[in-house]
Point group: C2
Chain length 338, copies 2
Amino acid sequence: MTIKDVAEYSGVSVSSVSRVLNDHPDVSDQVRARVLEAVQALHYVPNNSARDLSRAQTDAIGVIVRGAGNPFFTPIIHAVEKEILQAGYSMEIHQISADEDELAAGASLARAKRLKGMILLGGEFDYTPDKVAVLNIPFVCCSYTNSFGTLDKNTYSSVSIDDEAEAYRAVRYLTDRGHRKIAILLGAVDDRSISELRYKGYCRALQEAAIPEDPSLVEEIDYYDMHVAYEGIQRLLERRQDLTAIFAVADTMGVAALKALHDAGRQVPEDCSVISIDGLPMSNFTIPTLTTLEQPKDELAVEAVSRLIRVLEGKGKNGHLYLQTSLREGGSVGPCHR
Amino acid sequence: MTIKDVAEYSGVSVSSVSRVLNDHPDVSDQVRARVLEAVQALHYVPNNSARDLSRAQTDAIGVIVRGAGNPFFTPIIHAVEKEILQAGYSMEIHQISADEDELAAGASLARAKRLKGMILLGGEFDYTPDKVAVLNIPFVCCSYTNSFGTLDKNTYSSVSIDDEAEAYRAVRYLTDRGHRKIAILLGAVDDRSISELRYKGYCRALQEAAIPEDPSLVEEIDYYDMHVAYEGIQRLLERRQDLTAIFAVADTMGVAALKALHDAGRQVPEDCSVISIDGLPMSNFTIPTLTTLEQPKDELAVEAVSRLIRVLEGKGKNGHLYLQTSLREGGSVGPCHR
DNA sequence: TTGAAAGCGCTAACAT
DNA sequence: ATGTTAGCGCTTTCAA
């Protein structure tokens, strides 16, 4: 079932069929009707590969989502899509798992779909010029930036929060309320990624409050998985019965912390406070509501798209933007009673 | 940057380059090395469209996920992917939003990627032979079936739970504990989809317990959105202060119900019980843990893939499988005290 | 307004 | 083991 079949069936040439399918103006109503009828009758659907291959260029912007299933990205994806369509571009989205290489995936998608530009939703923090070279179209990192890499700032854009500063703010929120035994739940203190940055912010806040760092208050877990986080909290609670607050570097971990504390017989926030970063939908529905620094997901998306398009249209240069989170005060943080 | 450039750069023919790129055995180490070097140097990435277009046929199975961001699908997607790869096929996944047409999306993907078969994760329950005609490859509906449609059972496969029966089971779980004022939270009682089926099961359980149906205990909400569900529960609680149990047709709604009840000063399960269907990861972390009928997500995925492949390889025919949920007893259901 | 034909970049016979 | 070449299905000049 190809365009040729449709042409034969309707008794016109393939080019006429193509014109009808692509809404070209100069086709007679008669031909148009016959072609559409044939399409209907034959259940014809154009082959995208062939289409993309022959089209000079598309107006497609690629979106690579790394960490499929991460609820943090869901609203961002929606906002990104809306912005892209509104600007008159089309979107090609591709989800990969957290252990895949977003640059390779992006490069492949870029060529496959003749993309004009790309938005990376989640990725490594340590790109090198060599690594990104495969991606020979403008791109913007959304929700992260190249903190540990060696990329020339002019060769890409980014829109993210300042992880170190926001982590500092979260922990500061705890120290301001008198907490001193503050645990942190994260991936790894030296993951060259988000956990490392947020750990730095944690340390700075402690330092400023003259609280010595204490390794036994640091719980590293392999994965941003709620069960694993739950177990991490359990270990933490066994080890340090005296802790009064927990900073979870992501809401998923915060939610798990709430549960682990409850199951261990600790009241939140009376016995132990919990704060995290992200502002996931579900953290609005925990009991108590999780106190979290909500990432400006909509703005993250809007800025990423508009900046990319500005670069694509030659109206602007690459740049880097830090957005601020907004504190969403739930009921999971209280003053320190000990 | 095409295969031709790589060929010229490395001083071999395009077919040699193609061979290297596709891991064909009969290429000399010398040529292989030269080609790989050129690929590296030129940052060459093959154009997928061209590749797909020229390849006689792929071994790709398509997966259409309808309702991007629905946490219910996340683990299923993972399991599906694992199964597909394990069976020696490749996967093409495409996520669409809940208001898009999965058949059109599937048909497009099928032709674009020359798919051998397709797995539909979520979709309408009322297909007609005409509507599915565009999809001229074997397909299996995963997590739903064609309850309201007119499809010939031999033309497709499905793997799902029996929505009516499982809803009956959930409500029966409540009536068995003495509950009689049981509310239901759903999309619409006549949505020709999942809500309608589960509503039927709800009615049957009530009938069996000689409880008259009461419209004021039915709360219809537009969307499977937690905030909307929360508001729905609020309306319900205002309207019917006397209700003692809630059946939410999805875990997301159940989580919201827990919160709404808590905020309204009702203890769960002492004052009001909550049960739902799905078994989402997050419902393990609510307080109390949500009692839910857990869908066998892994089995759903495994069966969908294996049945599809059996059909593809001519080793089996289309068929329809109902799997059973497993009761996950949390702490959200108790005996009726009133 | 329509049709013929030249690619788009790649793979897979078919030669050599 | 390597090169030549004919398509894959479509869009898009270029003629008519």
